[in-house]
């Protein structure tokens, strides 16, 4: 199947969905009322109009900015922490062995239960959301970096050592790139989780951001507002993901699966 057909089919699914939604919420069936009451389900056109209005009035940019900032901070701090601890654990067997049960326990904890605690500790500003995103991103990056350092090819490592590399040079030329590969293989997931942390945190208590916007609409039964918030969130996610893919393609050119293309 070529690209054009694929995109056409993808669009078709979206349009069909919107059409069904539109028909169910606008075409009168019984007593002059549509099957799905717009009060509960809104309509595609209203959602579109609201989304447009939010963007046009500039009102949404502030919220987007907050969510973006929280996502970026959660990702950056979580990734940095995950890298440092992942390296430390991979290079120090004892550390890994001692902390193993605690790491597993901490990772198994559903993060949502932490949100109120973080709100208590860090207030209702961005930092409680960053903290929530951090707890999600940290573990993903940590596990991947740990794995990456552990699974460096023994031959590549032995070769580097035979070339006379010291510990620092090994770190720079062997462990670090190996760990990065693994980290990047989970980049989409970890950026996604940073965003989840931010939005869920906002949803549970804040004064700005996309999660806040959705929550605000929900609390007054503004279904159009909720759906519009979700649409904006989706657009945001797609843009973010495209950006991540671009970075990934740039940094992992050496990898067979991303680079091997036949003309």
């Amino acid at each position: 199947m070529n690209r054009v057909t694929l995109i056409a089919l993808q669009l078709l699914v979206g349009v069909a969905f919107l059409l069904v939604w539109h028909l169910l919420t606008t075409v009168p069936v019984v007593d002059g009322k549509p099957l799905f009451a717009p009060f509960f389900f809104s309509t595609p056109l209203e959602v579109l109009a609201r989304t447009w209005k939010d963007f046009a009035s500039g009102e949404i940019w502030r919220h987007l900015g907050i969510t973006l900032l929280e996502t970026v901070l959660a990702f950056a701090i979580g990734a940095a922490g995950g890298i440092v601890v992942g390296f430390a654990f991979a290079r120090r067997e004892l550390l890994a062995a001692v902390f193993d049960p605690y790491v597993k326990a901490a990772n198994a904890l559903p993060r949502v239960v932490l949100a109120p605690i973080f709100a208590l500790w860090f207030g209702l500003g961005i930092w409680s959301k960053v903290a929530l995103g951090f707890t999600l991103v940290f573990f993903i990056v940590f596990f991947n970096v740990y794995q990456g350092v552990k699974e460096v090819s023994p031959t590549v490592l032995a070769n580097a050592r035979m070339l006379g590399m010291n510990e620092r040079q090994l770190l720079r030329h062997v462990y670090w790139p190996a760990a990065l590969t693994w980290m990047f293989s989970s980049l989409h997931t970890s950026v996604g989780f940073a965003l989840v942390g931010a939005v869920v945190g906002e949803y549970l208590g804040s004064a700005g951001g996309l999660g806040y916007k959705i929550h605000e609409a929900e609390s007054v039964f503004d279904v159009t507002g909720v759906f519009s918030g979700m649409v904006i969130l989706t657009i945001f996610v797609i843009v973010l993901d495209t950006f991540v893919t671009a970075i990934e393609n740039r940094l992992l050119v050496w990898r067979p699966d991303t680079a091997a293309k036949t003309a």
Binding site: T155, A158, R161, M162, G164, M165, P177, T181, W254, A260
Partner: protein
């Protein structure tokens, strides 16, 4: 032409001082692996081997007899269970800094381009980056990969990767070369080209070479001495043959010389027994 099973072979061509102090000296080497199951596997046993400075020694033997294991011990990557390794007269402790090692498996850093893989070998020696890149480019040209500097390893063929690895090893100008089936994945023609290339490079700057191959003809064509190992476990050295063929040699042409055939016949007589032994062991293990 001479052949001898006497161990170790005295090197008449080497100077008296060199004979007194070989570059590589393995004495009474035992290497035993502890398997996960708790069993012990004696890979090689009681190995004595000397390699004089500038001498090209090839080890042949059935698969799994412990050739790579011997190289690993000489490289200092593997601690022998008994016996000792001396490098240029000094007991080896830790990694062998005098040796360059061309591994049997792919060992290039997959995240570095060919030229970076070669240039990085100079970093531990403190060569500035720009200078290292320049020399790496020279080396790539020498192994016939001038136009492939910017390729990543996965974009190179098996033979090209081996050549990058060769350049990576040689750029550091190590005094001892350990090469584990460097031409393993290559076709016959490329093997010859690479073999001649290696001989040229080696002739220009003679090092002690410890070379491993499955190909007996290649072993004879390249070497000053061919050492035959017995089938494992507890493999030992069962033959040590001097190859008195004139140098410089051409890998392809030298095979047609009568002297070559005589040596080949003598070594094969010794090797064939071991290969058959290894083969029948494998069959028994299967049943």
């Amino acid at each position: 032409m001479s052949q001898g099973a006497a161990l170790p072979v005295q090197s008449p061509s080497a100077s008296a001082a060199a004979a007194a102090r070989p570059d590589v000296c393995l004495r009474g080497l035992d290497i035993t692996f502890a398997l996960k199951t708790g069993e012990l596997h004696a890979a090689v046993k009681n190995i004595d081997l000397d390699i004089a400075p500038g001498e090209f020694v090839t080890i042949v033997g059935p698969t799994g007899c412990g050739k790579s294991t011997l190289l690993n011990a000489t490289a200092g990557l593997l601690k022998p269970s008994a016996g000792h390794v001396e490098i240029q007269g000094a007991a080896l402790n830790g990694l062998n800094g005098k040796a360059g090692y061309l591994f049997q498996a792919d060992a290039l850093m997959p995240w570095k381009t060919a030229i970076d893989n070669v240039a990085v070998a100079l970093e531990p020696m403190g060569v500035p980056k720009a200078e290292a890149l320049k020399r790496a480019q020279d080396w790539l040209a020498r192994v016939g990969l001038k136009g492939f500097a910017q390729r990543y390893p996965h974009m190179l063929s098996g033979g090209q990767r081996k050549r990058v690895a060769l350049a990576q090893m040689l750029i550091r100008d190590p005094q001892i070369l350990l090469m584990d089936e460097p031409f393993g994945p290559l076709d016959a023609q490329t093997r010859q080209i690479m073999g001649n290339l290696l001989l040229d490079l080696w002739a220009a700057n003679k090092k002690a070479v410890m070379f491993v191959t499955h190909d007996l003809e290649e072993a004879i064509a390249l070497s000053d001495r061919v050492v035959v190992m017995s089938a494992g476990p507890a493999a030992g050295i069962v033959g040590d043959f001097r190859v008195e063929l004139p140098r410089p040699r051409d890998i392809a042409e030298i095979r047609t010389e009568p002297a070559f055939h005589a040596i080949h016949k003598a070594i094969w007589a010794s090797l064939r027994v071991e290969v058959q032994k290894a083969y029948s062991q494998g069959e028994e293990a299967q049943q």
